[in-house]
């Protein structure tokens, strides 16, 4: 119990004193995760919508595979990405290993199935509602996807936030492909792992509370943004 109080105290002092290292790793955490989320949404949302409106032979199997991929252990993803990006691997020439870019790549692989799955679910429900109307209006497939995505944007936001939550707290994959290098690829979660390993639980918990706080801020910010829209027009 003492440890938790020490943790809260540590978090408070870190934030209030604008600790330089804390700022550094927090900013990097946000950069890596937000970039990954944006790219994953760009992939997952149209794909989820496409899966909802287009009937094709292996559709059910594709959906099952995507749902199954949500259960990919992040560490395994990290290992695979490491092998791909390693100097002795196929993409070694790109020199991406142990950089934030490698971390972004790993996180994209981890959260895209999640975002696609939630987006698909949202789009499927909306498509059931709009199906007859949009078909009777002779819309093209692309027009249907655009309409579903726009009208269903509130639920798609949930998909994005789910991806964000999963990514911001992830540590296994980015530890392997990033290397937790001080000042280069260290982020909040890997720093927490490091401090825990050193037995400095108070600091680890403190960083943990900062991480939770950051996540809260992002979620609240997104929700209030979407609410003003609701008040204004809906």
């Amino acid at each position: 119990m003492n440890d938790i109080l020490d943790g809260l105290r540590a978090a408070f002092w870190l934030v209030v004193s604008l600790d330089a290292e804390l700022m550094n790793i927090s900013l990097r955490s946000l950069q890596v995760t937000l970039t990954a989320v944006v790219i994953s949404c760009a992939i997952g949302i149209p794909f989820g919508a496409y899966l909802a409106v287009q009937r094709f032979r292996y559709r059910r199997m594709v959906i099952s595979i995507i749902n199954a991929l949500m259960g990919l252990p992040p560490v395994v993803v990290g290992l695979i990405v490491y092998i791909m990006l390693s100097r002795s691997g196929p993409f070694g020439v790109l020199g991406l290993l142990f950089t934030p870019t490698a971390m972004i790549i790993a996180q994209i692989i981890i959260i895209t199935p999640l975002i696609t799955s939630i987006a698909h679910q949202a789009m499927r429900e909306l498509w059931a509602e709009y199906h007859d109307l949009l078909i009777s209006l002779n819309t093209t497939k692309w027009q249907r996807i655009k309409t579903l995505v726009w009208d269903g944007r509130r639920n798609l936001l949930t998909a994005g936030l789910a991806g964000f939550g999963r990514a911001i707290g992830e540590v296994g994959a980015i530890m392997i492909v990033g290397g937790n290098i001080d000042n280069v690829t260290r982020v909040l979660t890997t720093a927490i792992a490091l401090e825990t390993g050193k037995g400095d639980f108070a600091l680890a918990l403190g960083l943990g509370f900062v991480l939770i706080g950051l996540s809260l801020i992002v979620n609240i910010a997104i929700h209030s943004l979407s609410r003003t829209e609701r008040e204004g027009r809906w």
């Binding site: 909306l126 007859d132 009777s136 002779n138 009208d151 269903g152 027009r233 809906w234």
Partner: protein, 229 residues
């Protein structure tokens, strides 16, 4: 003039059950055609396969309209989760039309929803939604308008408004193909009639059949208000 739609040996089967057919029928241009019959007789299916949004199991539907435009109004109105104005604008945008605002304003006025233009369409009442759906169907000026029991769940006041709108539309030259279970409505609007029973076309003819002797006893019973199976 060739008929607008010709159905040859059309059947619709779902899960092994025959819902409609075999149907051999043609629908000509001109005054409103009303499709009548008891619930479950296949009226909805007939409209949907003729329009082309439902798959037929056998047979063929030919459209002889040389590119006639058409629109469909469903029994329970689907509104997009947008404002009323945006709902009206949507079909025009889909076609890439210009000068959308003028058309939208005109139709808002015709259905009396100008004040609600920026309101969420999902907040409209059932009657307002159906009026919106009809306006949205007509805004692209289709040559044929299909309606599947549009007034089924509406009050008398709204029904009257909608019938007035449909009558004007028909007079302006739009072909109406409409199903209904309201015989009064059929009498008010029909030019010709298709009577469906158990998924088959039982009788067709001009609207006079609604008040004069019918060809078949089932239609007579139906018009009297009996339950016909």
């Amino acid at each position: 003039m060739p008929p607008l739609y010709t159905l040859s040996d059309v059947t619709v089967k779902r899960r092994g059950r025959r819902i409609l057919g075999p149907v051999n029928l043609s629908i000509d241009a001109g005054g409103p055609t009303m499709v009548i019959g008891p619930n479950g007789s296949g009226k909805t299916s007939l409209l949907r396969v003729t329009y082309g949004i439902e798959r037929i199991s056998t047979g063929q539907v030919t459209t002889n309209g040389n590119g006639d435009t058409h629109a469909f109004v469903f029994q329970s109105p689907t509104v997009l989760r947008r404002t009323v104005a945006e709902n009206l604008a949507y079909p025009l945008r889909v076609r890439g039309a210009t000068d959308i605002n003028a058309a939208v304003d005109r139709w808002l006025d015709r259905i009396g929803l100008t004040q609600q233009a920026n309101r969420a369409a999902t907040r409209l009442s059932g009657g307002e939604r159906q009026k919106l759906a009809i306006a949205r169907a007509l805004i692209c000026e289709p040559q044929v308008l299909f309606l599947d029991e549009p007034c089924a769940n509406l009050d008398g006041h709204t029904t009257r408004e909608i019938e007035a709108l449909l009558a004007t539309t028909a007079h302006a030259g739009t072909k109406l193909i409409m199903s209904t279970h309201d015989m009064g409505q059929a009498r008010r609007l029909a030019d010709n009639v298709i009577f469906l029973l158990n998924g088959a076309v039982h009788e067709t003819g001009s609207a006079t059949v609604l008040s004069a002797p019918t060809k078949t006893p089932e239609l007579a019973a139906f018009l009297k208000g009996d339950i016909v199976t």
